[in-house]
């Protein structure tokens, strides 16, 4: 029920634009980077040794997050050459997303639980 006023209040995109690239925005990203790294180190060290190979392909798929940037470049109205660069980047990222997740799941499906029958 509370988002309503929040939304009204927001002269959104402009405000965002105003904020882009400001030192404060930069430091905010630094904090995010620091915290995310802490999380990454904590979480990955606790990944089961059994699953290190699937982990490699999963993170591989996750790193395809570059798709976000590629879409922006390829999608906005820019000179063709730029759009082309964006499109190539987008295709590359999409390849990673698809193959990364598919192969990870393929590997994980192989792991039988001690019981005997395959994991559902």
């Amino acid at each position: 029920m509370l988002c309503a006023p929040l939304l009204l209040a927001a002269t959104a995109s402009e405000a965002a634009a105003a904020h882009d690239g400001s030192p404060a925005a930069f430091t905010a990203l630094l904090f995010v980077f620091l915290l995310a790294t802490f999380i990454g180190l904590g979480v990955v060290t606790r990944v089961s040794r059994l699953l290190h190979t699937p982990l490699m392909s999963l993170t591989n798929a996750i790193s395809a997050i570059a798709v976000v940037g590629s879409i922006v470049i390829a999608g906005q109205d820019h000179p063709p050459v730029i759009t082309l660069l964006g499109a190539i980047a987008l295709a590359a990222s999409m390849t990673n997303i698809v193959s990364g997740f598919l192969i990870t799941d393929r590997m994980l499906r192989m792991f039988k639980k001690p019981g005997g029958e395959k994991r559902p």
Binding site: A12, L29, A87, M94, L102
Partner: protein
């Protein structure tokens, strides 16, 4: 409005990415983790579509289609080719990051106020990391695929490291110049790109093919870092978060590998490790005792506890299905069978686990090195299948050995050791393995798949009802 939807989508996606990795801590929840990752990625893409000003839907659709068409087949590769595949997608990831950075740089040439110091700094970082990951990963993939025209052995030449560092230094210097004069010195940008591409190649040339897995993990974190840099360029928190998760994961995996090989990053990157293999292959003076499949089968039947140590050879021979049959035959005889998994057995972390899982061996039979070693003295027979370095006792005592200090599976402490390999050739570390000359060791020469197959036949032959 769209602003809020996008941020919301990105926020949820970030949380899901974290959970996705978190759920990998247990095979039971792992697939849920993949699902979380897929949902997160979908949210990220859909959220981005909401960006005002996205118009070239045709291009986007086309690119997505292409990616899909390449991606699906790429996910069908045999498990032995997983390292190459991973390398290739790192290459794609690096390429994407590099291209986006390049595009942004030239776009902002017309609106230079956007090229603030840290933006330019971030772009340079993104482009250098991206493009060196691109060529570097391609080289790595080539070496792993053992392409003829890419030398497997480390290629070394005088002042090599110096020149490499030099190259990188020049690139960074140009980058710093750009930070001060993003427009006036714009012509430096292509130079940086070229240097990064070259550096990627030169970085890999001096590294032996067998060190590639470690290198790949490192490239993985470079790819992650380039995504982080992109996040700083586009002021996008989701990119920073996902990139950081990726970077730390790659870093930790390579650290694990280095530890398990008792080597330092520096040694992996500049040690030109594979070289020692040249002086390997010197004719053996001592000779190892041979054993026939018949004899081996009888020995196995007598045993009450058998430990199987799989290695790279099992992967090469694709012997996991036969191994499964052997496992069935023995367990059918109430023989306790366990698998001893060395953290760096094979050519990538967890390699053996995946292969054996593929052969439907329940994962509670896959015991980690530290847990199985204490049991070795009570073990009747250790069956080494295409493993070598990971069972080489020299690592424990021979200070001169290149693998000295690397933790190993104590196959030599078992009552008896049967080793399956094609010859007396050394393994990846290129050193002979005294285990095979020990009194209690017997060799079964031949391709792992064939030999294990013979063993299974022998066992099936004998009624097995005693």
């Amino acid at each position: 409005m769209s602003f809020w939807l996008i941020e919301a989508a990105y926020l949820v996606a970030s949380a899901l990415f974290v959970l996705s990795l978190h759920w990998m801590n247990d095979p039971k929840t792992a697939r849920k983790g993949v699902l979380a990752g897929v949902v997160a990625m979908t949210l990220a893409v859909l959220g981005t579509f909401l960006n005002p000003g996205i118009v070239n839907w045709g291009w986007i659709a086309g690119a997505l289609a292409v990616g899909f068409l390449i991606g699906v087949p790429l996910s069908w590769v045999p498990l032995t080719a997983v390292p190459q595949r991973t390398a290739v997608s790192h290459a794609f990831g690096g390429l994407a990051a590099g291209l986006v950075g390049t595009a942004k740089f030239y776009l902002w040439q017309d609106a230079p106020e956007n090229l603030t110091a840290f933006r330019t700094f971030a772009i340079v970082a993104e482009v250098i990391l991206g493009f060196l990951t691109f060529t570097g990963s391609l080289m790595a993939a080539g070496k792993l695929q053992e392409l003829k025209w890419i030398p497997q052995r480390p290629v070394t030449y005088p002042l090599q490291n110096l020149t490499n560092i030099g190259l990188l230094g020049v690139a960074v210097a140009c980058g710093i110049a750009l930070v001060f004069q993003p427009v006036a010195l714009a012509y430096l940008f292509p130079v940086i790109v070229a240097l990064a591409l070259a550096f990627g190649v030169l970085l890999i040339i001096p590294i032996g093919g067998a060190d590639m897995p470690t290198v790949i993990s490192l490239l993985n974190s470079y790819a992650g870092l380039s995504a982080v840099a992109m996040g700083f360029v586009l002021d996008n928190k989701l990119l920073v978060i996902a990139g950081a998760l990726d970077g730390s994961s790659g870093l930790i995996l390579s650290i694990i590998m280095c530890r398990a090989m008792n080597r330092s990053f520096a040694n992996v990157l500049f040690g030109a490790f594979g070289q020692v293999q040249q002086k390997a292959g010197v004719a053996e003076t001592r000779t190892a005792k041979r054993e026939t499949p018949e004899g081996a089968a009888q020995v196995l039947e007598m045993a009450s506890q058998v430990v199987i140590v799989p290695g790279y050879g099992m992967a090469v021979a694709q012997a996991q299905q036969r191994v499964r049959e052997l496992y069935d035959e023995l367990t059918r005889r109430k023989i306790e069978v366990k698998f001893a998994i060395h953290p760096v057995a094979g050519r990538m972390p967890g390699h053996m686990n995946v292969l054996l899982a593929e052969a439907d061996i329940p994962y509670d039979k896959l015991i980690e090195m530290d847990d199985i070693n204490p049991e070795m003295p009570q073990t009747d027979v250790v069956l080494v299948i295409g493993a070598n370095d990971v069972v080489n006792p020299a690592a424990r005592h021979d200070k001169t050995s290149p693998i000295y200090g690397m933790p190993i599976i104590d196959a030599d402490k078992a009552r008896m050791c049967l080793a399956i390999k094609r010859s007396m050739n050394p393994g990846f570390a290129g050193i002979e393995n005294e285990l095979y000359f020990a009194d209690r060791s017997y060799m079964l020469f031949g391709d792992a798949k064939a030999v294990v197959g013979d063993l299974v036949k022998q066992l099936q032959g004998s009624s097995g009802m005693h």
